[in-house]
C-alpha cells in the first residue's frame, strides 16, 4: 500500500488499492470479502497487505461461492456495514447474478431497505484470458433497475469513483478494466477526492464528431482522435464513467453540438450499452443528427483465446478512424 499524503503517480491498479485503503481507514463499516483477497492479496494483488493492516475479519477469504458471498454482503449491508465484494474475475459474476438482480437491486424499491454494497469486477479483454476471463458483462446488469454501474478509464476516475461507490447507499457494480491495471498511470492529488456517480466526462473536446465510450475504449478513442487531428478531423471523446444511471445530459449535449456520433465499446455489439446510447440519441437528438449513428463494438461471439482471434475481436483505433472518416464525409 502507498501513502497518499502527497501528490503521487499511481497506476489504475494502485488507485483502486488507495481508494479501498482510504475508505477502510476512514470508515469502520467498510470491509472486504472475496476469494484469495486475504494473505494472498487477491488475484491482481489489489488488497496486498490489507489483511495485515485491517485484520482477519475486515479482509477475509471466503469459500468459493460467488452467490453466497454476494448474498452475505447484502445482509451485512442491510445491517449497516459497507461490504466490498471482489469477484476474482468479472466473468464469475454470472454465478451471483440472481442475488444481484433479485435481492440487491429490488430491495430498496420493495421495502425501503438500502443495500450499500460494492462489487468489484475485474473485466475486459486484451489479456489473452479466453472466453471465461475476458468478458465485459456490464450490459447484463444495465437492464436491471436499482443497480448502479461504473466503469472508470483513468487512475483518477478509478480512485474517485470507487470512493464514491463505497459511500453510495445503493448496490454499485464497479467494473475495473484488467487491461488498464498497469497500463495507465496518473498523478493524483494528495487530498480526499471523489468522482460523482452519474457524471460523464468529456475527455477530449472536439467539434466534428462525438465518440461516446467508456473503459479501455476511451484510450482507443483518444488514440484515434490524435491521428484524426492530423487530418483536420476534431473528435470529441465522451467518457461515460457511470453506465447506470446514464448521464443523458452530457451525451445529448455533446451530440447536439457535433451532430455526428460514434458509440464505441468493447462489449459485444448486440444488446450492448451502446444500443441504449444510440436509442437515446435517436429519440432525443434526431433533429440535430447529420448522419447515421454508428456503433463500434466487438462482434457477437464469445471472447476467443488465440491471439490472432482476440486481436480480430477487439475494437481498434483504426475502426474508429475509418468510421469517423465515413461520418465526416457523410
Amino acid at each position: 500500500m502507498m501513502t497518499t499524503a502527497v501528490a503521487h503517480e499511481v497506476t489504475y491498479l494502485e488507485a483502486i488499492s488507495e481508494a479501498l485503503d482510504e475508505e477502510m481507514s476512514q470508515d469502520e463499516r467498510v470491509f472486504l470479502l472475496g476469494e484469495d483477497i486475504g494473505p494472498y492479496g487477491g488475484a491482481f494483488r489489489i488488497t496486498e497487505g490489507f489483511q495485515e493492516k485491517y485484520g482477519e475479519w475486515r479482509v477475509f477469504d471466503t469459500p468459493l461461492s460467488e452467490s453466497g458471498i454476494v448474498g452475505a454482503a447484502i445482509g451485512a449491508a442491510m445491517m449497516g456495514m459497507r461490504p466490498i465484494v471482489e469477484m476474482q474475475f468479472a466473468d464469475f459474476i454470472s454465478c451471483a447474478f440472481d442475488q444481484i438482480t433479485e435481492m440487491a437491486a429490488k430491495n430498496h424499491y420493495r421495502w425501503g431497505a438500502a443495500v450499500p454494497m460494492v462489487i468489484r469486477a475485474p473485466y475486459g479483454g486484451g489479456v489473452h484470458g479466453g472466453p471465461f476471463h475476458s468478458v465485459c458483462p456490464e450490459a447484463w446488469f444495465f437492464h436491471t433497475p436499482g443497480l448502479k454501474l461504473v466503469a472508470p478509464s483513468t487512475a483518477y476516475d478509478a480512485k474517485g469513483l470507487l470512493k464514491s461507490a463505497i459511500r453510495d447507499n445503493n448496490p454499485v457494480l464497479y467494473f475495473e478494466h484488467k487491461f488498464l491495471y498497469r497500463r495507465v498511470k496518473e498523478t493524483l492529488p494528495p487530498e480526499d477526492f471523489f468522482v460523482p456517480i452519474g457524471e460523464a466526462e468529456i475527455k477530449r473536446k472536439g467539434r466534428d464528431l462525438s465518440v461516446i465510450t467508456y473503459g479501455a475504449m476511451v484510450h482507443i478513442a483518444l488514440e484515434a482522435a490524435e491521428q484524426l487531428d492530423q487530418e483536420g478531423i476534431d473528435l470529441e471523446v465522451v467518457d461515460l464513467r457511470t453506465l447506470s444511471p446514464l448521464d443523458r445530459h452530457t451525451i445529448v449535449d455533446s451530440v447536439g453540438k457535433t451532430s455526428k456520433v460514434i458509440v464505441l465499446h468493447e462489449a459485444t455489439k448486440t444488446g450492448g450499452i451502446g444500443a441504449e446510447i444510440s436509442a437515446l440519441l435517436a429519440e432525443e437528438c434526431f433533429s440535430s443528427l447529420d448522419a447515421p449513428i454508428l456503433r463500434i463494438a466487438a462482434p457477437d461471439t464469445p471472447v476467443p483465446y488465440s491471439p490472432p482471434l482476440e486481436e480480430f475481436f477487439l475494437p481498434k483505433a483504426r475502426d474508429v478512424i475509418a468510421a469517423a472518416r465515413q461520418l465526416v464525409a457523410y
Binding site: 470491509f31 475479519w57 475486515r58 477475509f60 471466503t62 469459500p63 461461492s65 452467490s67 453466497g68 458471498i69 454476494v70 448474498g71 452475505a72 454482503a73 447484502i74 445482509g75 451485512a76 449491508a77 442491510m78 445491517m79 449497516g80 456495514m81 461490504p83 440472481d98 442475488q99 433479485e102 435481492m103 429490488k106 430491495n107 430498496h108 424499491y109 420493495r110 421495502w111 425501503g112 431497505a113 438500502a114 443495500v115 450499500p116 433497475p145 436499482g146 448502479k148 464514491s164 459511500r167 453510495d168 447507499n169 445503493n170 471523489f194
Partner: protein, 327 residues
C-alpha cells in the same frame, strides 16, 4: 428447560393470531379482493411463532414464505399485513410487493424474495455484520424442504459454518414443495442430514409443538450468542392447505392430512397449556376474543387505507445517497 406461563400464553396468542390473519386473508382471496397469490402456514404456525418469540428485539428474523407468525411476533401489525395483501399504501411495501414479501429493519425482520433460498446467504450476512462488530445479536432464518435443494442453501450454510456465525437455520419440512414430495426432492430421509456437510449441529423437532420449537430455538440462539456458531433445526410438519390458495393439492393423500389434522399446533398448545395447569377454557376463550378483535380492527384499517397512486410506481428505485457522508 421449562416454559413459563406468560411465555406460553404469548406463544399461544401468536399461534391464534397467525391462524386468524391467514384465514381472514384467505376469505378475502376467495372474495376476489386480493389480486395476487396467498400462501398460508396453516398447520405450521408453530414454527415461525416459536422461533420468533425466542428472539430479542435487536435480533433479526429472515423468514420465508410460510412464516406469517414471525412477522406478527416481530411487531408487524395484522392491519399492515392485510393492507399488504390488498396492495394498500399502508402495507410495509406501500403496494410495491405482495403477500408476505414484506419487512422492516426497525422491527428486525427481512423481506423475503420469491426465489427460494436467496434469503439464506442474506441472513448469514446479517450474522456476519454482528460478528464483525462484536455484537451478541443473532439471526434466525427459515427455508422449506424444497428450498434446501438450491445452491444458495449450500453456499449459505457453508459460509456460516466456516466463519462460525450467529445464525440459526430452521427448515420447515412440510413434506412437499408445491406438488413435489420429499423423495423427489432429496434421497435422504431427514433434511437434517444436510447439516453434516457443513459440520453444523443438527436437530429434529416436532414442527407442530410450539413450546418445543421455542425452547430449541432458545438454546440454539444462546449457543450462537456465545460464539458457538450456527445450528440447523428441522421441523417435521405438514402443509395442510394447497401450495397456494388456488391449489387443491389433490396430490396429497387425504389420510396424511387426516392424520396431521389431529396434531394441529393450536390443539397441541391448548392441551399443553391445560396439562401444565396454566389455563382453563375461560382463559383460552379470552385469548380467542382478543384475537378476533385484533382481526376486525386489522381488516378495518386495511380496508380504509388508500391504494397507492400510479406515479408512486416510480418512487424508491434508488436509496438516496446521504449528503453528509459524501460531503
Amino acid at each position: 428447560m421449562e416454559i413459563s406461563k406468560p411465555e406460553f400464553l404469548q406463544l399461544y396468542y401468536y399461534l391464534l393470531l397467525t391462524r386468524a390473519v391467514e384465514e381472514r386473508v384467505t376469505v378475502l382471496y376467495r372474495q376476489g379482493r386480493i389480486a395476487g397469490g396467498v400462501y398460508t402456514s396453516h398447520g405450521m404456525e408453530a414454527i415461525s411463532v416459536g422461533y420468533a418469540c425466542a428472539l430479542q428485539s435487536d435480533d433479526i428474523a429472515a423468514p420465508f414464505h410460510r412464516d406469517m407468525g414471525a412477522f406478527l411476533v416481530r411487531g408487524i401489525t395484522p392491519g399492515e399485513i392485510v393492507a399488504q395483501y390488498l396492495g394498500k399504501r399502508t402495507g410495509p411495501t406501500k403496494g410495491k410487493d405482495g403477500n408476505v414479501h414484506l419487512g422492516d429493519l426497525n422491527r428486525g425482520i427481512f423481506a423475503f424474495v420469491s426465489h427460494l433460498a436467496d434469503n439464506l446467504p442474506v441472513a448469514v450476512g446479517a450474522a456476519l455484520a454482528f460478528k464483525l462488530r462484536g455484537e451478541s445479536r443473532v439471526v434466525v432464518t427459515n427455508t422449506g424442504d424444497g428450498g434446501t435443494s438450491r445452491g444458495d442453501f449450500h453456499e449459505a450454510l457453508n459460509l456460516a459454518s466456516v466463519r462460525k456465525l450467529p445464525v440459526i437455520f430452521f427448515c420447515n419440512n412440510n413434506q412437499y414443495a408445491y406438488s413435489t414430495p420429499l423423495h423427489h426432492q432429496m434421497a435422504i430421509q431427514d433434511v437434517v442430514e444436510r447439516a453434516k456437510a457443513y459440520a453444523i449441529p443438527g436437530e429434529i423437532v416436532d414442527g407442530n409443538d410450539v413450546a418445543a420449537i421455542y425452547l430449541m430455538a432458545q438454546s440454539a440462539i444462546q449457543r450462537a450468542r456465545a460464539g458457538g456458531g450456527p445450528t440447523f433445526i428441522e421441523c417435521k410438519t405438514m402443509r395442510m392447505h394447497g401450495h397456494s390458495e388456488h391449489d387443491s393439492a389433490k396430490y396429497v393423500p387425504r389420510e396424511l392430512l387426516e392424520e396431521w389434522k389431529k396434531k394441529d399446533p393450536i390443539l397441541k398448545a391448548e392441551q399443553s397449556l391445560k396439562q401444565l395447569g396454566y389455563v382453563d377454557d375461560v382463559e383460552l376463550l379470552e385469548v380467542r376474543k382478543r384475537v378476533e378483535k385484533d382481526i376486525e380492527a386489522a381488516v378495518e384499517f386495511a380496508e380504509q387505507s388508500p391504494l397507492p397512486e400510479g406515479p408512486e410506481t416510480l418512487e424508491g428505485v434508488y436509496a438516496e445517497t446521504l449528503v453528509e457522508v459524501l460531503a
